[in-house]
Each structure stands twice: as C-alpha cells, then as structure tokens.
C-alpha cells in the first residue's frame, strides 16, 4: 500500500474549521512535549492539562471538518495524513518550545487571542462551531489566566527570568499578526455570520497583552512587520519535523487500526 497524503476538498467552511483544528493540535502537541520535563511537577500537571484541552478542541474541530467535507476523511486522517503544505495552522503555534519563557509567551499570545475569539464565536450561526466555542471559551480563559500569571512572574522575577521572557517576546512578536488576518474565503463566512471578524478583537487583545506585559515590566516590540503563511501551508522549517514525529506510526504502518 502506498503511503499517500489524503486530499481535502477545502470549501470555505472546511478550510476555516481545519485551520482552527490545526492550531489546537499543533499547540497541544508542542505542550505535550513538556510532559515529564517541566521545571516543577506542578507545571507538568498544568501544561498537560492545557495540552489535553487543546487536543480535545482539535478532535472536535477535525470531526466537524470531516463531516462538513462529506467524504471519507476523519479526525485521524486529517491529523496524520496531510503533509506540511496541507497544514493550515498559525506559524506561532508551531514555534519550538525553547525554554519555559518561550513556551509561556507563545501560550500567552495565543490564549489572549483564543479567549476573545471563542467567546465571540459562541454567537456563530453555525451551531457546531458555536458549541465548540462554548466549551473552548472556558478552557482558553483558564489558559490565559495561567500564562498571564507566569509572564508576570518571569518578567518581574529575577534578572535572568526577565531577560529570557523579554527575548521570547521579541522572538515571537512577529507571529502574532497572523491571528488577525482574513482572506477571501473567510470573508464570505464572516458576512454569513458563521465566522467572526478577528480585526474586531485586535484592540482588546493588544490591551490585555499590554497590561500583562506592563505588570511584568516587559516591553512590547514596536516593529509591526508580521510573518504570514501558515494559513496557506507556507510554514517555518519546524513544522515538518513536528509532523514527521506526530505522523510516524501512520506513515510507517499505513491503513492499520491502533
């Protein structure tokens, strides 16, 4: 049997759902890499909880994408049998864990967005997406709380932790713009009340991020050049390695049930 990538008919709704599913899976996968290696046992527990929330969100969204597509794809085919050019996640979430500061800054940038995003999506005209949003909103709110508290402690902790947190912010800032980008395919869904316009969230996101960074004595970069491409399958080099690990069993033993 040939190990082939599946084909996905990316209608606007399928593509939209896949993009959010990929965000959740890739970030959940990254966090799961910490399990057994965190700075303290209490954080092993916390990071695993966040990872499990995100993997749960991914599974629901993949299930819905498969249903919306109406072919014979399912959550596992979508996760395990698409290659790097078919993945639709934000560049931010695929960035490597780095040190604890980099992981937490990545989480903070994403959760500050996800919290607003899912709360707004609870009003989606698409009943399934609205239901996923209702569940994810509570999870994201806690992820934001957890990561904010850590940003404050790392920023306002020791000289070393401050330097590491600032370096993480400087490194990851350019990946935050992509969260607010909209293409034509999403514009239609926004007009139909199925998706929300992320631009409307940007000001509140910036306020949250600015407040927490301020309390943490950290500085947000002035540079507003933003990296883009993840939503269209143009990723960083990191994603390919992540996928080769994530998909290794399905690629080595195609078509089996585990």
């Amino acid at each position: 049997m040939v190990v082939a990538n599946i084909e996905v008919s990316e209608t606007p709704l399928v593509l939209y759902t896949l993009r959010r599913a990929d965000d959740a899976l890739i970030l959940g996968h990254r966090l799961s890499e910490w399990c057994g290696h965190a700075p303290m046992l209490e954080e092993d527990m916390a990071l695993s909880n966040i990872a499990l929330d995100l993997i749960g969100q991914a599974r629901e969204l993949y299930g819905y994408a498969a249903k919306a597509e109406g072919k014979d794809n399912d959550e596992d085919k979508l996760a395990y049998l698409r290659d790097v050019r078919q993945y639709r996640n934000l560049l931010l979430v695929e960035q490597p864990n780095g040190d604890f500061a980099q992981t937490l800054v990545r989480q903070f940038f994403y959760s500050a967005f996800a919290d607003l995003y899912w709360r707004a999506m609870m009003n989606s005209r698409d009943a399934t997406l609205a239901a996923v949003a209702a569940k994810s909103e509570k999870e994201s709110a806690y992820h934001l709380r957890h990561s904010s508290e850590w940003i404050i402690r790392l920023g306002d902790g020791t000289e070393e932790s401050h330097a590491r947190a600032q370096a993480a912010i400087d490194r990851l800032w350019a990946f935050t713009g992509e969260m607010f980008a909209v293409d034509d395919s999403e514009r239609g869904l926004i007009d139909a009340g199925i998706a929300i316009d992320p631009i409307a969230l940007r000001e509140r996101w910036l306020k949250t991020v600015t407040n927490v960074a301020g309390e943490a004595t950290l500085v947000l970069p002035q540079n507003d050049w933003m990296q883009q491409g993840g939503r269209f399958g143009r990723h960083s080099e990191h994603l390919g390695h992540l996928l080769s690990e994530l998909q290794s069993m399905q690629r080595t033993f195609p078509g089996l049930t585990w």
């Binding site: 799961s32 057994g36 290696h37 954080e43 092993d44 993997i55 604890f100 585990w258």
Partner: protein, 330 residues
C-alpha cells in the same frame, strides 16, 4: 496533618525510644489503628517509611519517561489524549506521594536531591526502553497491573498519609491497566505485523515485570519489620504469584504466549513460573540497566533547566510580599 512544621525537633528529642512508647506504638498497629504524622513513632519506622514512600514517588516520576517517549508519536488522537492523561496521572501520583513522605519530616526538595544524586532508588522497571507502540500497551497492562497488585494492600498501610495517598492513586489508576489492555487487544486483532509487535513487547517486558515485586522472600531484607509494622501485608512472592495467576488467562485471551516455556499449572490452579534471573535484576538496580543513565540524565536536565523558573517565582513572591507590607505601612 501534612505539615512539615508539625514534625519538629520535639519528635527527635524523643528518639531515645523508651520501651513503653514502643510497646504502645506496636499495640496501636496491632489494633489496626492508623499512625498520623505527629504521633510518636520509632525512628526506624519513620526511616523505613520515608525511604519506601519517596522511592515510590521517584518511581512515578521516572516512570513518566518511558511512556512519555510515545506521547508525541501516539498513532491516533484518541490514543494520544489517553496516553498524555495517563502520564500526567503518574506525575500527580508522584506529587501525592512526595507530600505523604514530607509529613515524616523530609522536604520534597531533599528527597528529589537524593534521587538526582543517585542516592535513592526507584523501580528498576523504568530502566528498560520503550521501542515500539506495543510497549505502551504492555506497560499499561502488565507494569500498571503489577503496580496495582502492590498498591491495593498499601491502601490499608498503617501510616495514614501513605494509605490515603494510595487510595487516591488506586482510584485514578483504574483506567491505566484497561487502557493498556485495550491497546494489546487492538494489536492482537490487527495485522500479523501488529500481533508480532505485541508478542515481541510481551517477550521483552515479562521477566522485568516479574522482578518488579522485588527479591524472593528468602532473601528480602526489609520484609520482617515492614510486616510487623503493617506497612507490608503480603510478601513479594505472594504478590508475584497472585499477579501471574491473574495475568496468564489475560494473555491467553489475547492469543499471546508467555515467554516461559517451563511454566506449568499446579493442582491448585496456580501458574508456576521458572526461576527468575536475579543477576539481571541486581545489575539494573546497580545502575547498569539499558536506560538508567538516560533516565537520570533526563530528570537532572529538567531539574537544572527549571532552576531559573523556580527562582523567578520565589523572587516574585518575595517582591510581592515586600510591596504589600510597604503598602500596609503607608
């Protein structure tokens, strides 16, 4: 209860175990009373328990590594979530157990430092590598199965905090063994390749799992005192036999062969296994297992690389306290 503060010098001042105290203590144990943290206890009881509970905790934490090795490669999203939740549980169990050990007067930090310095032991089973996905099935089915055999009697252990921690652990672990057996069942109902993978994993883990119950009764050094103090309620060999008897039919159901050609069933229905190679056990315990060095290196790395994070949290707490008291003074 559960506080370091309560186990202060007072208890140590009484370490001259007068005979009356010791007799009273033993009478409470014999009456199945639970011993609580600030109760009087013989120094040897405290030492034995601190060693046993902390070893148990270290085992849970080091035990995250062999299974954690497959979280990023789990073959389906359902399996990935279940495995992550399971390894996370083990972390929680380590945490409950450290807390129970701390009630005896040694801090978690000291216990962890001893482990990282190579001065404290953990279960030798975690020094074997997980090579294929089937190993995750076998660990859940057999390693957790063996652990449960060991842990259920500990729920009635004479030391209250340990017994309570074990009740919580056993409750949470009930899904672990089922998770492992379900993986094995799926493999055994799958392709020839999958079935071979399952058999290969069983072949590699069977004997190390039997060794988990510890040395045979005739040479076990801690058993006498532990039995008297009702820390231990069954002997190593009793538990091992119980485990084998429970496991053989489960293997038969899977269609797998226990890698012990000399195994026979006696008249009472017990499955009699062949002689265990205790030289291997001693070597693994002495640090010469296939993964001892890797496991210690991974734990030390996590500890060392986490130091600046713990320092940051402590520094922030101090600053906040200072600011609050400065504010209150205004």
């Amino acid at each position: 209860m559960y506080t370091q503060a309560l186990n202060t010098a007072e208890a140590d001042d009484r370490s001259l175990e007068d005979v009356a105290h010791a007799a009273q203590f033993q009478a409470r144990i014999d009456a199945e009373e639970r011993i609580e943290p600030n109760d009087w206890m013989p120094a040897a009881y405290r030492k034995t328990l601190t060693r046993q509970i902390s070893q148990h905790a270290h085992s849970e934490i080091v035990g995250m590594l062999p299974e954690g090795n497959w979280i990023t490669r789990a073959p389906s999203l359902r399996r990935k979530a279940a495995l992550l939740a399971k390894v996370q549980d083990e972390c929680g169990h380590g945490l409950y157990l450290y807390a129970a050990a701390e009630t005896l007067g040694t801090s978690r930090e000291e216990l962890v430092d001893a482990m990282l310095a190579g001065k404290a032991k953990y279960s030798s089973i975690f020094n074997y590598p997980t090579l294929t996905w089937a190993d995750i099935g076998v660990i859940g089915w057999l390693v957790d199965g063996a652990a449960i055999m060991n842990q259920i009697p500990l729920c009635r252990c004479s030391y209250g905090p340990y017994a309570r921690a074990m009740i919580r652990v056993c409750k949470e672990e009930s899904f672990h063994q089922r998770q492992g057996y379900e993986i094995m069942l799926t493999l055994c109902r799958g392709s020839d390749e999958q079935k071979a993978m399952a058999q290969d994993a069983l072949n590699r883990w069977w004997w190390p799992v039997l060794m988990m119950f510890g040395p045979p009764d005739k040479v076990s050094q801690h058993s006498d005192a532990s039995t008297k103090w009702k820390i231990k309620r069954f002997s190593n060999d009793e538990l091992r036999q119980k485990f084998v008897d429970a496991t053989v039919p489960q293997a038969q159901y899977l269609g797998l062969t226990i890698p012990d050609p000399g195994m026979t069933q006696d008249a009472e229905g017990h499955w009699r296994y062949s002689e265990i190679d205790w030289t291997e056990f001693k070597q693994v315990l002495a640090g010469n297992g296939p993964c001892n060095r890797d496991r210690m290196a991974a734990r030390r790395k996590a500890h060392d690389e986490g130091a600046w994070v713990r320092e940051a949290a402590a520094a922030y707490a101090k600053k906040r306290q200072y600011r609050q008291s400065a504010q209150a003074a205004e």
